[in-house]
Symmetry: C2
Subunit: 283 residues, 2 copies
């Protein structure tokens, strides 16, 4: 591939650019972003070689869409309108149903591969981009059968070279399950952070008392609000379901504590302890 365009030069797009530099040193990288500051940072970091616009995509071999998920849904049809027959377009979004629906009847549907690399940190912007972010991570690919075999092959090989494991899933199942194992964690962390900040705002030294356990549990509350608002918007129904169940479990725990049912509290925790084995497989 001679020319790759990256739309969205944040943590994900920027980290993908870093890996492209490693695996495709001869490829020319073009950056598209609505933020002039991000474009300048990306150039300064040499994440990309040139700034471009969506109108330039006709000579792209590959286009990587790494913008907030609601923006991705809006611009993907236009991106497909602008590419050549042999261009492959991949997205990196945390929701998959809406984006697949947005292009279901597009004449260039076969040029698009819907992806979700389960990779990220709590930081954002071009400066947050890191090398080998995707190494050892799972990349969930949806509706692979709708992408032209030759085009998908090239990009799946690239993902594997970057160290990703590929899994295939339909977009509806993806959005349902990711709500539990990713989206709910973010709400849990944000609201934990809020609860503690609200309570302790007049007592500046209290965070001296916080240890590594609090830091770990609340870490995701550092995440980008724009990115996450758009994820919750697109996955509203599933996220609401997880949130209802989470609140219900917390309320049950509270009821046990009010009733001083300490055996019940012990058993709740004991039964959840086998998360140990589940987590052993996660980096």
């Amino acid at each position: 591939m001679k020319k790759i365009y990256i739309i969205g030069l944040g943590l994900i797009g920027g980290s993908f650019a870093r890996d492209l530099r490693r695996h495709m040193p001869k490829t020319r990288l073009f950056g598209i972003d609505t933020s002039e500051q991000h474009l300048q940072e990306a150039l300064a970091l040499v994440l990309v070689d040139e700034v471009a616009t969506v109108g330039d995509l006709s000579d792209a071999d590959m286009v990587v869409l790494a913008v907030p998920v609601d923006t991705a849904v809006q611009i993907l049809p236009t991106v497909l309108d602008n590419i050549d027959d042999n261009t492959i377009v991949v997205d990196m979004g945390s929701t998959k149903q809406a984006i697949c629906e947005a292009v279901v009847s597009h004449p260039k549907r076969r040029n698009f591969l819907a992806c979700h690399p389960i990779a990220g940190t709590e930081f954002s912007g071009p400066n947050a981009a890191i090398d080998q972010l995707f190494k050892g991570k799972t990349n969930i690919v949806c509706e692979v059968e709708k992408t032209a075999p030759k085009l998908q092959e090239t990009v799946l090989n690239l993902f594997k070279e970057m160290g990703m494991r590929i899994r295939y899933m339909d977009p509806i199942s993806h959005d349902k399950h990711i709500a539990y194992v990713s989206h709910l964690s973010h709400i849990s962390a944000f609201m934990l952070g809020k609860t503690v900040i609200e309570k302790e705002k007049n007592e500046r030294d209290i965070f001296d008392m916080a240890g590594s356990g609090f830091a770990s549990t609340v870490r995701l509350a550092k995440s980008n609000p724009v990115t996450w608002t758009s994820i919750f918007k697109q996955n509203k129904t599933n996220v609401l379901e997880t949130l209802e169940e989470y609140i219900s479990n917390l309320t049950h725990f509270k009821t046990l504590l009010e009733a001083e049912n300490y055996q019940g509290i012990h058993d709740e925790m004991k039964n959840t302890n086998h998360i140990k084995e589940i987590l052993n497989g996660i980096n």
Copy 2:
């Protein structure tokens, strides 16, 4: 100090023993535990030199109480009954009000220093003990004025040699604040783990989709149920208050999402983002 007795040879007691080996290589260490298995493990790991009982404490220079907090409250009076006038007894418990009240009128109150080193991991037992667990950690000391100055001086110097920062606080404030910055995090993690496990129990491969964010948020759900039941029991009132506020914040978030108030959701997250600066001070 020639002889130090450690009651409770789990993560905290065992890690303290490891640090004592480093800083006081000539001191003989005695272990007391209700678990025969833990005693044998502690001997095999050379955490302690000998097994002992509470009846042996009369020749102790120092006694370290590192058992679940409800056990600590029960046995501390007996421990004090059995020691010499020059023995210092310290506890390591995550709650401080009940233990201070339990010995408020004890004739040997001056021999006790109420401590809470904010240190730990999600693991437990003698095998979980690690070197330098306490290095760089905060140790909250309560009612320091009730401990004989000469006795407290020795042990506070030891804590400083182990790398701990000492902070002084009254037990009521300690229990109130620690509920927010530690106890609530554990409930949040346990119930997140429960919610996801319940939903995904029939779908074995779903945890392939979980990334480092989920792992971080749910990490504390690996913690010991016995330890934590006793903490929630002793700090019931404060924990219930934090839990009510947490549930209320989650419910508010859910209401915003149901109403599709995405600006409101964005602002909730944006306002919590400054947890970044707060966490910068935490290891």
